[in-house]
């Protein structure tokens, strides 16, 4: 088992215990290299230009320069730097700001090591990683539009069944036959689905179904 790439990491946190803990954890994982650490944003800004890490793991709540301000200052100069925010609490305003600043991931301090590794791997591979709770908040508060409404509606079992079949490219007629009900009934379900989901056609329904993981 060869190592293809080593991920160079820089960590910023004003809590020394946390800093030490995460450093030990990540140091014991080959494939990862801790290039350096800092206890505040100012120090981080000095060190990062020379060290050129792949990933910056930063606390959000820090004195003077917090994680968001740090991200803002780094984002333009280092567009390829992946920034993983680690925070002890999750309020939507902070998360919203962090996302706007351009972080690539956001996890909570009470999440396990397994998820930390997953987050690191994910953002290193160019994707964003947000922990489950944060995803929920994003849906609930930032996307305060159609999306939010989409996620609030409750579909009945029958409606889910119909939606599932729609998303599997079945026509109304086919669905009616499959469920042993009339075409009119299926059309009513479809209408109700569109009303609940907030869309005007099948395309919206399919997108919703995929987004919700119903297919």
């Amino acid at each position: 088992m060869e190592v293809n790439k080593e991920i160079k990491i820089f960590i910023v946190d004003d809590h020394k215990m946390f800093l030490d803990g995460i450093t030990v954890i990540l140091n014991n994982i080959s494939g990862l290299i801790i290039l350096g650490v800092a206890e505040n944003g100012k120090e981080a800004l000095k060190l990062i230009p020379n060290l050129k890490p792949d990933i910056l793991i930063t606390d959000i709540d820090m004195p003077i320069i917090d994680g968001i301000e740090l991200t803002n200052q780094l984002r333009l100069s280092y567009p390829n730097l992946k920034i993983l925010a680690v925070s002890s609490h999750n309020n939507s305003t902070t998360i919203s700001k962090a996302i706007k600043a351009g972080i690539n991931g956001y996890i909570l301090k009470n999440t396990g090591k397994v998820e930390l590794l997953k987050a690191i791997n994910t953002i290193f591979n160019g994707e964003n990683y947000f922990t489950k709770e944060v995803k929920q908040l994003i849906n609930d508060s930032i996307f305060n539009n159609k999306e939010a409404k989409k996620n609030k509606v409750k579909l009945s079992d029958r409606e889910k069944e119909v939606l599932y079949l729609i998303a599997h490219e079945k026509s109304t007629k086919e669905i009616a036959e499959k469920l042993y009900v009339s075409i009119n009934t299926v059309e009513t379900h479809r209408k109700n689905l569109m009303r609940k989901v907030g869309t005007k056609n099948m395309v919206g329904l399919v997108k919703y179904a995929i987004q919700q993981g119903l297919i």
Copy 2:
């Protein structure tokens, strides 16, 4: 940073060097526990019932009882056991058999540690994990149907544009207005899209668009 869960792992490989290597690597990662190892399938079948691992990492090519046979024998008795196949070569027949046997993941021996960890985390969380090359093979050979064709077709720029708008819930009329062409033209594009993608309606197009990351 607390550890939520520890992942219990059992490893089978007839190459002792590989076995030692992977054991050392994984032992250095907290969150993972190597419960035991075996150099052949028979030995593994003896040890696994007592050790009850979460994840079995097994080589595919082994004498007497190979990884696929091992999977077949374990799958029924231990439905919750996650099995990660590790193989040095990737031919579609083997992969096909492995998937039918019920493995949860398939990676290659030349992949890095980072991906190994990703695979372990992924299958531990109940999802399947297949390395990129394997995914490609799956698409090319096993799903020798619509899916394969879907991934082979080339859409023209204009078609992609139309597909993008379709997936954004625009009607033919709206698309025609937006692109300054006639409705007939948009319908032709849509027809060609459906022909190329291999579907009979908008639902299939949207699913394709999402799958291809066009929206």
